[in-house]
């Protein structure tokens, strides 16, 4: 299937959102001022585990400007617990700790005051009487029956313990010529947006409605708030015109919104809570996966990898939420881009006395890709085979698509070998090898990193029913609504917030393409949740596919109406007419213009076809393509589209200092038809930067007493413009057969493979010393220490 030529899609168009942001005219949640607004500051627990005996708020309550202090006991009695993804009813979570604290930093109570400064002052006056309890931090320890359960009523720390066997694993291991095993650890990091989470809520008791403005990226947010606060769904109005200052998955903010919504309703005044950085880092409940992999692979001497056994143990932190599902998404690409005949997968999620985990870019796929790519490097090393050749031997070939993997998903399309060839050419691979050897000759430790991986996209959530049998959800829709006004101008409504993905540009480009009008003339609005059609927000790299799809389908419906009106007006069968540039043309040369249709639809009902409604509006609620079945026998098809990326990195470091410097970074990227090239490239660059952070710098590290040690930007290090090198993106387009333009997802690109590639490069650099780094991040101290120990 050759790439089609489009007028606006895939063309260089400046993202329309950019103008307001460069002028500082975004509409971020902290910019929202409501009259008579109060402010909130939460008090955090110092203990990783304790029973709360008493909270003395009397002195705080006497301070000028303090309005109220909300405790866990109060809110626990007043609202419903937050939603759990798994069937774990005894693992209850409330916005504030109820009776027991379960991690250091957890919010125990919240002061409401006239200013945030007064609220913070009042925190110092609150006295907590608590009895420390035993705690557990390590996931393997948490698994042991002897470990202190984080939720005693649940009985153990195990949230999820599922074993899957897909295909003839036992037989394949017996028949394979070799096997090897290893463990790797993905350290606890997160996306850490520069804007912290924030929410403003206002209760209108005359209309019985709760208005919510939040920096959020969360499916079904208003439903969840309403359920927790015992309100009807139509009594919560979430405003989607709030710009979100970065999210990349984590801005879920459900405990924040229920807390602030509860206070707003109780006090009858608008309430604002904007996390400060400390609150965000230790108690924003936005840490990412922390995962240990035990992997066994069976393979032959020619390099064919036949089977894999993977045990993935994830440390979910103190509460369940949706995080354990991050062990589920990788099932949809459990063999990566490779032809591996069979797989067994043991997914375990445990609670611990650490901060709660939330969805992070890729929803668990990046750690799994790191494990799979490490396996490829280990097999190559075992066989003394070239790492690249080993991958090329095992990659799925372009003539094998659609390709059914053992766990039940079918990959839509791809040409992995072609992408890799393009990257090798663009990066001048022989020169890269020569440069590595030259750096080594100069006394540097230099290595080349390779990683090939997939980005499952389209945001279906079949991992929910797969991991929780009481969940029967197969629906995962997105919608768009369009209207041509009486002057002939088009406005589209989208029903979600955006956090930098350029949805306005996406929708106007797609509508312009289908209706053949200038995308710049199209207005995009974001109404609130009550004025919206159903959707699931930008998760799972889904918006190009789903919002783009719903926009295209709306436009097709509207176009059909324009043609019907013209057919009636011109007295010709609709099939004989052609649509071009917004006008409808008859074979005899007559033209029924866009404005003619507007005139008839808006003002001349008597001239419309019989039975046609007036106006020019259309909407579409689109189900995720291929998402039509629940799991059977531990197998399910998950995502409609699979994007491919191939990373090739050269890095080097001084053996004494150990600070990796990236000399060359090339990535091949195939996400099908690209809607906006600048936006897709930008997300890929950003994903790689985030992956460099995950591989080298970023970690939420705890001390043995359960205290988070990296709770500011002085300790939690993120890549600056010095750490992220120039990056060369090599584009390839294999359209998806399942989407309107052949587009696939790209929102998580870059991040899914860069940590594996960096790890591969560092391990290549130290291979001569027989050192192996088996945990991310690989901090410079770890590198220099390991080398020093070898030399000693």
């Amino acid at each position: 299937m050759a790439a089609k030529k489009y007028k606006f899609i895939s063309q260089p168009r400046h993202p329309t959102e950019n103008r307001r942001f460069v002028a500082g005219r975004g509409n971020f949640v902290a910019d929202i001022d409501r009259p008579d607004m109060l402010h909130v500051a939460p008090l955090s627990s110092h203990y990783p585990a304790a029973i709360i005996n008493n909270i003395d708020i009397s002195e705080a309550m006497m301070m000028d400007g303090v309005i109220d202090v909300i405790t866990g006991a109060e809110i626990g009695a007043a609202i419903q617990p937050l939603m759990n993804g798994l069937d774990t009813p005894k693992v209850q979570r409330f916005p504030l700790a109820v009776n027991r604290v379960r991690y250091a930093g957890e919010w125990v109570c919240a002061v409401v005051a006239e200013t945030r400064a007064i609220a913070e002052d009042a925190l110092e006056k609150i006295i907590i009487d608590a009895t420390p309890q035993p705690f557990v931090l390590d996931a393997e320890e948490a698994l042991l029956p002897s470990s202190p359960p984080v939720h005693p009523k649940h009985g153990s720390n195990i949230l999820l313990d599922r074993k899957f066997v897909w295909g003839t694993v036992g037989e394949d291991f017996v028949n394979a010529e070799h096997n090897l095993s290893f463990s790797v650890i993905w350290g606890r990091n997160s996306t850490v947006p520069i804007e912290t989470f924030g929410v403003v809520a206002e209760w209108n008791g005359w209309d019985n409605i709760l208005d919510v403005w939040a920096s959020v990226q969360m499916p079904k947010y208003s439903d969840q708030i309403a359920r927790c606060l015992n309100l009807p769904g139509n009594a919560v109005r979430v405003h989607y015109d709030v710009d979100v200052g970065g999210s990349y998955g984590v801005k879920r903010g459900i405990k924040h919104a229920t807390l602030i919504g509860y206070i707003a309703r109780k006090l009858g005044r608008p309430i604002r809570f904007i996390e400060d950085r400390l609150e965000n880092m230790r108690a924003g409940d936005a840490h990412g996966p922390e995962r240990k992999f035990n992997v066994e692979v069976a393979f032959d001497s020619d390099g064919s990898v036949r089977s894999m056994k993977m045990r993935a143990l994830d440390n979910a932190g103190a509460y369940a939420g949706r995080a354990p599902f991050q062990l589920g998404k990788p099932i949809s690409a459990i063999v990566g881009p490779y032809q591996i005949n069979s797989v067994s997968y043991h997914a375990i999620s445990v609670t611990s006395n650490k901060t709660v985990q939330e969805a992070v870019r890729g929803f668990g796929q990046a750690p799994t890709n790191y494990a799979i790519e490490t396996a490829m490097d280990r097999v190559a090393s075992f066989l003394k085979m070239d790492r690249l050749a080993l991958r090329q031997r095992n990659l799925i070939r372009s003539d094998q698509f659609p390709y059914l993997i053992p766990s039940g998903s079918t990959y839509d399309s791809g040409d992995y070998h072609a992408v890799i060839e393009k990257v090798l050419t663009a990066a001048e691979y022989p020169t890269l090898l020569a440069n590595r050897n030259h750096l080594r000759d100069e006394g540097m430790m230099a290595g080349i990193g390779i990683a090939a991986c997939l980005e499952p996209s389209g945001g279906n959530s079949s991992f929910e029913p797969l991991l929780n049998e009481s969940n029967k959800t197969s629906t995962w829709m997105e919608s768009c609504q369009i209207n041509i006004d009486g002057l002939g101008h088009l406005t589209a409504r989208i029903h979600t917030t955006s956090s930098g993905q350029g949805h306005e540009t996406l929708v106007s480009t797609v509508l312009g393409e289908v209706l053949e009008i200038d995308p710049s003339s199209i207005r995009i609005t974001r109404p609130n949740s009550l004025e919206s059609l159903p959707g699931n927000s930008p998760v799972g790299s889904r918006m190009a596919i789903m919002l783009g799809g719903a926009a295209a389908r709306s436009a097709e419906k509207l176009k059909a109406k324009l043609i019907k009106i013209a057919a009636h007006s011109l007295g010709i069968d609709a099939e004989k007419l052609t649509y071009a540039g917004g006008n409808v043309l008859a074979p005899d040369g007559r033209k029924h213009t866009w404005q003619d249709a507007v005139e008839l639809a808006h003002r001349q009902f008597h001239n419309l076809p019989e039975g046609m409604d007036p106006g020019l509006a259309a909407f579409d609620i689109m189900q995720v393509p291929t998402g039509n079945a629940l799991p059977v026998d531990g197998k399910v098809h998950m995502y409609p589209c699979y994007s491919f990326e191939f990373h090739l990195v050269l890095l080097a470091f001084d053996p004494v200092i150990g600070r990796p410097e990236i000399h060359s970074y090339t990535v091949g990227h195939d996400c099908g038809t690209v809607i906006n090239p600048a936006i897709v490239s930008g997300m890929t660059y950003g994903g790689i930067a985030h992956g460099i952070g995950a591989a080298l710098l970023e970690e939420f590290a705890y001390d043995p007493n359960g205290q988070l040690m990296t709770q500011s930007f002085l300790d939690y290090l993120m890549p600056s413009s010095h750490e992220v090198p120039p990056i060369q993106i090599v584009k390839h387009c294999t359209p998806s057969p399942h989407t309107v333009f052949g587009q696939k997802g790209s929102g998580e690109s870059g991040y899914l493979g860069s940590p594996a590639a960096i790890s591969s490069a560092i391990n290549d650099a130290v291979s001569a010393l027989d050192i192996r780094f088996e945990k991310l991040p690989i901090r410079m101290s770890a590198i220099s220490d390991a080398i020093a120990n070898k030399s000693a």
Binding site: I194, I274, R277, S499, G500, G682, G686, M718, P726
Partner: protein, 175 residues
């Protein structure tokens, strides 16, 4: 409470403030200009960058009382936002064109860091640009398109009729 008088974007803002009030909060809550953003509030991320007397500084690390009687340019003072809504500076326009942003949260600080660089270094190298924005963390872009944007702006500034520092009279740097 202490009386301070700060010239923000050519307009004098006078108020009685607590000594602990940061310049960041003064700009946002007293002057009412919401384009300057809080990121870390401990001087690392650079989201709150503004120009004080022409220098890019972190407004979360400066108290309002320290900025008394000084000239501050926030993002609203760049381009034509004051009175000529919709008109961008060359740097802002280059950020739009190169897509040197995504979510827009670090963007005002980035733009001001770039404005400060280009006011002093009209023909920067890529290394100069990376150094100038190295105190501004962006989690969206990986900096690639930001560097492109600043290089594009530098090129355009070098090839226009005259140049001026934001907030200054153009006659000082005419040429």
């Amino acid at each position: 409470m202490i009386r301070v008088s700060i010239e923000v974007n050519d307009k004098t803002v006078t108020a009685e403030v607590e000594p602990r009030l940061t310049l960041l909060d003064f700009i946002r809550d007293v002057a009412g200009l919401k384009g300057t953003h809080a990121g870390c509030e401990h001087g690392v991320c650079g989201a709150c960058t503004v120009l004080v007397e022409g220098n890019a500084i972190r407004s979360c690390l400066v108290l309002a009382v320290q900025a008394d009687e000084q000239e501050v340019i926030s993002i609203e003072g760049v381009g034509g936002d004051l009175g000529r809504s919709g008109e961008l500076s060359i740097v802002q326009d280059a950020f739009c064109e190169a897509h040197g942003l995504q979510c827009g949260y670090c963007t005002p600080g980035m733009v001001l860091a770039a404005e400060a660089l280009l006011a002093d270094t009209p023909n920067p190298t890529e290394g100069d640009v990376r150094e100038a924005i190295s105190g501004n963390i962006c989690r969206c872009t990986g900096y690639v398109q930001i560097v492109e944007a600043v290089m594009l702006a530098a090129d355009r500034l070098a090839n226009r009729n005259y140049k001026s520092k934001p907030g200054q009279n153009s006659d000082q740097t005419r040429g």
